[in-house]
Structure formats: structure tokens, C-alpha cells
């Protein structure tokens, strides 16, 4: 009960109606606005989500490509290094065999002549005061003061191997 007289009530009725109508239309406007805003936000969120998914897929594919390339390159490198390591061991084996075989040349009939020539070389390089001794592996070792020249057979064999182009071909194939 609002304490108004019936006459006043009747007089205010149109005002109330007008107020109500205006409030209702405002509500409808708000609702429409809110609905539009919601659908706009939804649409932009969906677009953004789609964009994020696309970007993520692209980034994922790119990183997978990079990762795959990296892995394959590492595997390829390991394979290549295996080949190189094998070549290295071939050389080592060759050098080892060569050192062993070189020492056996002491029984060759040309060995004394080789020794004489090596002695001459030592005197040319280190002077007449050079002291020359035989190496246990064959060949000679010359000493003059603080200078020493090792011309033992394994050293000579190694020097020869390093200078032969055809020997290099063995491990470059």
C-alpha cells in the first residue's frame, strides 16, 4: 500500500506505464547490445583461437622439420665419422706394419751402402764432429752437441710413406 488516493493512482497510471515502457525498451536495447557484443567477442575469440591453432601448427611443423633435419644430420655425421675412423685405423695399421717391416731391411744386401750414404748426409748436415751410432731398429742416429738426427729405418719408412701420393689414395677412396 502506497497511501495514494484512487484519484492520484489513476492520474499516475500513464506515467507509470510510460516509465515501464521506457525501462523495458532500454532493457531490450541492453540485451540486444549485450548479445551483439557477446557474438562479436565470440567471433573474435574463435578467429583468434583459429589463428593460434594455425600458428601453433605452423610453428610445430617448422620445429619438427628442424628437429628432423637436426637428427638426420647428426645421424649422417655419425655415419661419416665411422667411415673416417675406419680410414684412420687403416693408416695406423699401415704405419705399424711399415715400422715392423722397415727394421727387417737390415738383412737386405743394399743395407751397408744405405748406411754409408746416411752417414754422409749426417756429416753434411751436422758437421764433421758428428758422432754417429747405429739404431737398434736399423739405420743410424747422429748427435752433434745438442742437435740429434734420427735416421733409423722406421723413421725413414714413415717419411717415405708421407711423401708418396699413391699411398694417400689408400685411405682417400
Amino acid at each position: 500500500m502506497n497511501g495514494l488516493t484512487p484519484v492520484s493512482e489513476a492520474a499516475l497510471a500513464p506515467v507509470r506505464q510510460a516509465l515501464r515502457a521506457s525501462a523495458e525498451s532500454q532493457v531490450a536495447e541492453f540485451r540486444n547490445g549485450a548479445l551483439q557484443e557477446v557474438s562479436a567477442i565470440l567471433a573474435s575469440a574463435q578467429a583468434e583461437a583459429a589463428q593460434i591453432v594455425t600458428n601453433a601448427a605452423a610453428a610445430g611443423a617448422a620445429s619438427a622439420r628442424t628437429e628432423a633435419a637436426l637428427r638426420s644430420s647428426r645421424v649422417r655425421r655419425e655415419a661419416h665419422e665411422l667411415v673416417l675412423a675406419r680410414q684412420s685405423s687403416v693408416i695406423e695399421e699401415l704405419r705399424h706394419q711399415l715400422a715392423g717391416t722397415a727394421s727387417k731391411l737390415q738383412s737386405d744386401p743394399r743395407y751397408p751402402e744405405l748406411l754409408a750414404r746416411l752417414r754422409e748426409n749426417c756429416q753434411d748436415l751436422l758437421g764433421p764432429e758428428v758422432s754417429v751410432s747405429s739404431s737398434s731398429d736399423g739405420g743410424i742416429i747422429a748427435v752433434a752437441g745438442s742437435r740429434r738426427l734420427d735416421l733409423s729405418l722406421p723413421v725413414l719408412a714413415e717419411m717415405t710413406l708421407d711423401s708418396l701420393p699413391e699411398a694417400r689414395e689408400l685411405w682417400n677412396r
Binding site: 644430420s73 649422417r76 738426427l149 725413414l156 717419411m159
Partner: protein, 482 residues
């Protein structure tokens, strides 16, 4: 001195082996070690030994190290030991002098190999052998027999190919500051670069890099290495300093042989030359030379020139050597001796800028400070495409104007600018995002690069495209709606 009247003949020593006794002199072991001081070793009784001579140091335990003669005083020779003198004592050391500066065997066997800064294998393989033995310091080339650089080397990187085209036989450095992706860029160039018609080979010389950087370089270049198109020489930051002096000499020595004997186009990438110059400074201090600017020796200019001038093309030979040195400018100072002296020798520069990197653009090339002086010899009709030089000029001119417009917009606001100025600001965004910015593993064709340049230029009104002939506008300018 080598006879400099003929073309670049190479002394092919390995092909005609000398008698074994000729090499006995290099087998003499000197045992009179007077002093071990820091990285230096003083040897007595070493008459006849020369400067820069290479030596092998045999230790008592059977280990061998290597050294370079830094100074000779009567019969005293001072050596710098490459692997340091750690664990050495005066007794039991024998030094064998090679009788000549460091030589390397050169040939195609280098391709696909990974070696340290002085050419010793890091990949577990046998020592690299070759068909000839050459001094790493190289021979001066008779200027009359040089051919001017010509035809492009395409890197697949838009900003370089489009605006500062690298030319076969050119030397074009990358100037950077610490923290920028210069190594990534150098590696990308090494991975992607090609030249038309010729077989292309790359020598990548790394100096003073961290192990993480070296791992990155190896991974990135593995594919080209596996194709036997690339040689890696890797000197790490913790490797001997003096080795860093040899690395940029070994690289061009190998490259020259591949270019002038095997007829390949060879690109030599050297990173980082500032590390090299610091090594030169350290050795100079050890030789007690008078320091010049910032402690670097006074001969740094001619020293750098002996490296950079080894690029080029030679009459009567098909191949070429192109050099891309990378150098970091300490504190971004372009007047620092290393970039300053490099700039005098090289034919242009590619400058990387931190503010461009901060905007997320890769490669962060400051195009208005960068230049390839020989671009005209490598771009244009018959070499790349008829419109290339004009497009490059227009892109650069428009960027200069766009920079002015951007500065004006900062003062008065973009809304107060004229329609034309606003189009320049839009153009700048388009050119940076569409043309300059590129993925780190993306290789673009020249057609693609020029297409992107035209797309950016289309943002400008036609009346602003004053450097492009009408015929090119009609042929290449994309019209809206088309």
C-alpha cells in the same frame, strides 16, 4: 719472392717428390732449450732458423706439439707453442724446425672434412692429404692478372641479394655487435649460397667461437658438408690463440686451390675477425713490438689486407674466391681499428643494428648503412634481372624518405602527416616485414625477393617511384585488385 709476372701459378711440390735426403734437415732435433716462459720456448743453437718457421716439439713422453718461430736473435730462436707449454720442463724436449713457414696439403680431399684451426682433423678421420703442398701465407697475385669481380653469388637472403648483392670474387664483411645473430647469418649464407652455372664450394673458418656456437655451426652446415661442398675449420675460444692466426690463412689457401685449379666458385666465411685481430695483438705483444692504436700492432692494416686480398678472380681460370669476413665491433664502435681498417680494404659492408634486431627483424641489417660497392657488376640484365639495380635504388631511396617521415610522425603525430608521408610509413612496415624479415632456414629465390620488393613499393603512389622506368612499372608493379 715468387715471380709475379705470370698468372697465379702454384708451386706444386707434392706432385714431383724431392729426394728423401732433402727432408733430413727438418728431422734435426734441437735439444738446447734455454727457457720456457709462458707460451714461449727459447731454443739455443738454432742457427739458420727463420721468422715464422713452423716447428714440431717432441716431448719426453712421446707427445708432439707444434710451434711458430716468433723471434730470432743470432742462434737463439723464440717459439710460441701452439698447444701451450703446460707440463713442459727444460730437459727431454727436442725441437725440429721445418725449414719453412706452415704449409698445408691442398686438394679436394678437404671437402666434407671438419678440422681444427690449424687443419688437423676433428672428425676422427685421417690427416687431410692433397695433390699439392702450399704455404698458408699464400703468394701475392700479380694485379695485372686479376679479373674484376663479376656475376652474383646468391645467398637466398632477400636483404642481401636484393639490396647489396654479393659478387663472385668480392670481399664483403658483416659488421656486427656482440649479441646480434651475425653467426646465424654467416652460417645461413654458408649453407645457402650458390652461383649460377658453376659448382659452388664453401670454406667456413671459425675463430674464437664458443663450443655452443661451434655445435650450432656444425649442425646447421652438416647437410652441405655431407654433400662434400663444405670445409669447416673450427678454432674454439679455448683453443691456442696463435692457432687463430693460422686459421684465416689456411682457409684461403685451400680455397685458392679449389678455385684456380679445380675451377669451383669458392666462398670463404671467416668469423670472427675481431678474435683474429686480438690474437695478432697478443702475438705482437709477445714479440715486444711497439703497440699502435688500442694496442694493436701498426701493421694490422697490411696484415688484414694480406687475408682479404686473397679473394678475386684470375685471368685464364674459371673459379673465384669470395670472402665474407664477420667482425664484431666492441661496444658497437665502428671507428674501432678492426672494422675501421677492414672498411678500407673491403668492397662495402653489411651492417647489423641492435635496434632493428629489437624490432624482431631477422636478419637485422641496417640497409641504409650497408652497401655492396660491386653490386653493379653482379646485378642487372644478363646477370640477375633487368629491373634489379633500379628496384634496389628505389627501395633504398624510399626507405630514407620513410625514415624522415617516421621522425616527423614522432614530432607531430601520424594524423598530421600528408597522405604521401603516411604511405611511406606503411611502405616501411611492408618492406621490413615482407622483404627483410626472413626465417633463419629460409632460402628465397631472386624472383621471390624482387617480387616482395615490388609488393612493398606498390604501397607508394606511382609519382613517388621516380627511379623506376615506366616500362618496369608496367611490367612488374602489382596493381591493386590484380
Amino acid at each position: 719472392m715468387k715471380d709475379s709476372t705470370g698468372p697465379a701459378k702454384e708451386p706444386i711440390e707434392g706432385t714431383d717428390p724431392a729426394p728423401l735426403s732433402d727432408r733430413f734437415g727438418a728431422q734435426i732435433s734441437h735439444g738446447d732449450i734455454r727457457e720456457v716462459r709462458g707460451p714461449l720456448l727459447v731454443v739455443g743453437g738454432a742457427g739458420g732458423v727463420g721468422w715464422d718457421e713452423f716447428a714440431t716439439i717432441d716431448l719426453a713422453g712421446g707427445e708432439s706439439r707444434h710451434g711458430l718461430v716468433l723471434e730470432v736473435d743470432r742462434d737463439l730462436a723464440t717459439l710460441q707453442v701452439l698447444e701451450s707449454t703446460d707440463g713442459m720442463s727444460l730437459g727431454g724436449i727436442g725441437v725440429r724446425f721445418d725449414g719453412r713457414p706452415l704449409h698445408v696439403q691442398v686438394g679436394t680431399q678437404w671437402l666434407g672434412r671438419v678440422c681444427n684451426g690449424r687443419g688437423e682433423p676433428l672428425d676422427g678421420g685421417p690427416p687431410v692429404t692433397g695433390t699439392a703442398t702450399l704455404p698458408v701465407s699464400g703468394w701475392p697475385l700479380n694485379p695485372v692478372y686479376r679479373e674484376p669481380p663479376q656475376e652474383p653469388v646468391l645467398t637466398g637472403i632477400s636483404v642481401i641479394d636484393g639490396l647489396m648483392t654479393l659478387v663472385r670474387g668480392q670481399k664483403l664483411p658483416i659488421f656486427s655487435v656482440p649479441g646480434l645473430p651475425h653467426l646465424t647469418l654467416a652460417t645461413q649464407i654458408a649453407a645457402q649460397a650458390t652461383s649460377s652455372g658453376q659448382s659452388f664450394r664453401v670454406v667456413f673458418a671459425a675463430m674464437g667461437l664458443t663450443h655452443a656456437d661451434i655445435a650450432f655451426v656444425r649442425d646447421r652446415l652438416e647437410e652441405r658438408s655431407a654433400e662434400k661442398e663444405l670445409i669447416l675449420l673450427l678454432n674454439a675460444a679455448d683453443d691456442p690463440v696463435i692457432e687463430r692466426i693460422l686459421t684465416p690463412r689456411i682457409a684461403p689457401t685451400i680455397a685458392e686451390h679449389l678455385a684456380y685449379t679445380e675451377s669451383h666458385d669458392v666462398l670463404v666465411v671467416m668469423s670472427d675477425m675481431t678474435s683474429y685481430a686480438e690474437a695478432v695483438r697478443e702475438v705482437s705483444a709477445a714479440r715486444r713490438e711497439i703497440p699502435a692504436r688500442r694496442g694493436y700492432p701498426g701493421y694490422l692494416y697490411s696484415d688484414l689486407a694480406t687475408l682479404y686480398e686473397r679473394c678475386g678472380r684470375v685471368k685464364g681460370h674459371d673459379g673465384s674466391v669470395t670472402i665474407v669476413p664477420v667482425l664484431t665491433m666492441p661496444a658497437g664502435d665502428i671507428t674501432h681499428p678492426v672494422p675501421d681498417l677492414t672498411g678500407y680494404i673491403t668492397e662495402g659492408q653489411i651492417v647489423l643494428a641492435p635496434d632493428i634486431a629489437a624490432r624482431g627483424i631477422y636478419p637485422p641489417v641496417d640497409v641504409l648503412s650497408s652497401l655492396s660497392r660491386l653490386m653493379r657488376s653482379g646485378a642487372g640484365k644478363g646477370r640477375t634481372r633487368e629491373d634489379h639495380p633500379d628496384v634496389a635504388a628505389q627501395v633504398l631511396a624510399a626507405l630514407a624518405r620513410a625514415r624522415q617521415a617516421t621522425e616527423l610522425a614522432e614530432l607531430v603525430g601520424e594524423a598530421a602527416l600528408s597522405e604521401t608521408d603516411r604511405s611511406y610509413i606503411l611502405y616501411r612496415t611492408l618492406v621490413e616485414k615482407g622483404l627483410f624479415d626472413q626465417a633463419r632456414d629460409e632460402s628465397r629465390t631472386l624472383e621471390d625477393t624482387l617480387g616482395r620488393a615490388w609488393t612493398a613499393l606498390a604501397a607508394l603512389p606511382d609519382k613517388e617511384l621516380t627511379m623506376l622506368p615506366r616500362v618496369f612499372l608496367d611490367r612488374y608493379l602489382p596493381r591493386s585488385g590484380s
